[in-house]
């Protein structure tokens, strides 16, 4: 874009100038075993251009100025790619905007006078650390169980040495879009982690590089998942909550691969 025109149009896009007055009911909890409760905060003069996390920043600044303890919440990149932000906002994981993380949810999506209820993601395997922060390290246990490929790191191989079919690469990339935020578990009425695990499996199981460990990986990751999470009943809430719109089809793919893995792994270990 060039010249003054570009600058003004950009400026007018960014600043709508509108403000909102909101009431927030925010879950506060002093520690993992402490009882939690909602605290109500008035938030006047909130710019429409703020993100939801910036709204929390404003509330926290006021709390700090008043000598109170700020609200703990998870965040990192604030650009929708790291998977750290979370929050149940008015009964929806990452709020009501589809395909959007909380950090990318803008206040212009709310209406003046709204009462907004904010809770942590909930599941037994996501214990509350403090306030809105939950421990999602159970996801790390699933990744550790098989979310990798093993390759020889000798001399550098030729580029494109391993042909990858275009469709497989595309679908694998769709699965790899998962940022591991846990919204799927939070939204699931069963606290199941099928969407996350199936995305992590499909990402590797679809492409040639993932084949040698495919069956071993599938069994290990599914069974690790089952140490922590509930049982899927195919509601489909996860996909709707997912900021990366991971498809339910990956869950079906995982189910198919898991039963196959049970049979194959047995054959591979010589028990025909």
């Amino acid at each position: 874009m060039s010249g003054a025109n570009g600058v003004t149009s950009q400026a007018s896009q960014q600043s709508h100038g509108g403000t909102l007055s909101l009431t927030l009911r925010i879950w506060r909890q002093d520690g993992p075993d402490a009882p939690g409760r909602f605290h109500t905060f008035d938030a006047p003069n909130i710019s429409e251009d703020m993100s939801f996390l910036e709204l929390l920043d404003i509330i926290n600044e006021r709390l700090i100025e008043g000598g109170d303890v700020p609200i703990e919440f998870d965040h990192d990149c604030r650009e929708g790619i790291c998977g750290m932000c979370s929050l149940m906002i008015n009964g929806r994981a990452h709020g009501h905007e589809l395909a959007t993380t909380t950090c990318q949810l803008h206040m212009r999506k709310f209406t003046d006078g709204d009462v907004i209820t904010v809770e942590p993601f909930r599941a037994k395997a996501f214990p509350v650390v403090r306030d809105l922060v939950v421990d999602r390290s159970s996801f790390d246990r699933i990744i550790e169980a098989g979310g990798y490929i093993s390759v020889n790191t000798g001399a550098v191989g030729d580029a494109n040495q391993t042909p990858v079919p275009k469709q497989a690469a595309d679908t694998s990339m769709d699965a790899a879009a998962c940022i591991g935020c846990g919204a799927c578990v939070a939204a699931c009425p069963n606290s199941a982690a099928q969407l996350f695990t199936s995305a992590k499996l499909a990402h590797l199981n679809l492409i040639p590089q993932g084949q040698p460990q495919r069956w071993e990986r599938t069994e290990a990751m599914v069974e690790t998942m089952e140490q922590f999470f509930g049982s899927c009943t195919n509601h489909g809430e996860c996909t709707e909550a997912c900021p990366k719109e991971i498809s339910l089809d990956f869950i079906a793919f995982m189910n198919r691969d898991y039963v196959k893995a049970k049979i194959k792994n047995r054959k591979l270990t010589g028990q025909s």
Binding site: A123, P127, H235, T239
Partner: protein, 279 residues
Amino acid sequence: MAPTATQAAGSAPVFKTKRPLPFPLNIYQSAIGRKWVMAWTGIGLLGFVIVHMIGNLHLYEGPSRMYEYAETLRDLGGGLLPRTLLLWIMRVGLLAMFVVHLHSAYTLKERSRLASERAGFVGGAKKYASKRDYIAANYASRTMRWTGPIVGLYVLFHLADLTWGWWLGDAYVRGDPYHNVVESLSSIPVAIIYVVANVALAVHIFHGTWSMFQSLGVNNPRYNGLRRNLATALAGVVLVGNLSFPVLVQAGLVDEDNRDCPVNDTTGLECLGKAAEAH
């Protein structure tokens, strides 16, 4: 924050891994494998429900055709197998599928309840303090854990009513299903039970049919839309077929006013047998 204590809590398994049973039992030990078995048993039960419904349409052909149909079921396998053997094999198979379907439903629900602990698990779903705003979960998917048990109880009621004749008393004539059905369904409370239970069954089938493709992993993105249509069609067919019996009996369109054979288990059955042979 005090990360050390809380990190340990997060990574502590919620469920213990059980000692693996030999193949293929280990499939049923995992939740995904159990759901897979649940889908297969669901398909078996679904097959039964549809065949049972279609078979019962013989009711509209009158007492002797209905009698003939019931006899045919007992004679399945022709002269090759002892009478009622094949029927009994099917009954045992059906019972086994029912038990396994129920066991998997209950244990998987328990797993989800435990995995949602602290969040509260009310009416078969995890609860938040604020009202959940469901987008994809529909009425059918959220009530599987109610429609399932309703159907289960109804099956027991139905057997006691028309197979064992518990409360029809002297009005129950073993071997004359037309009479028994009309007798039973002409009572308003019984007709209501049949209607409610079959609505529950149809709702159960609506989600079940869509869901089983997912559980078995036999879906294809290209045909996902068709799965919804298939679910609607199957639920609709079962609903219309099964509701027609109580509704038409109550409406007086199916009755015994112009029946040729007497109603008793001696001369009545003989007469029905002769009429059936004459077909």
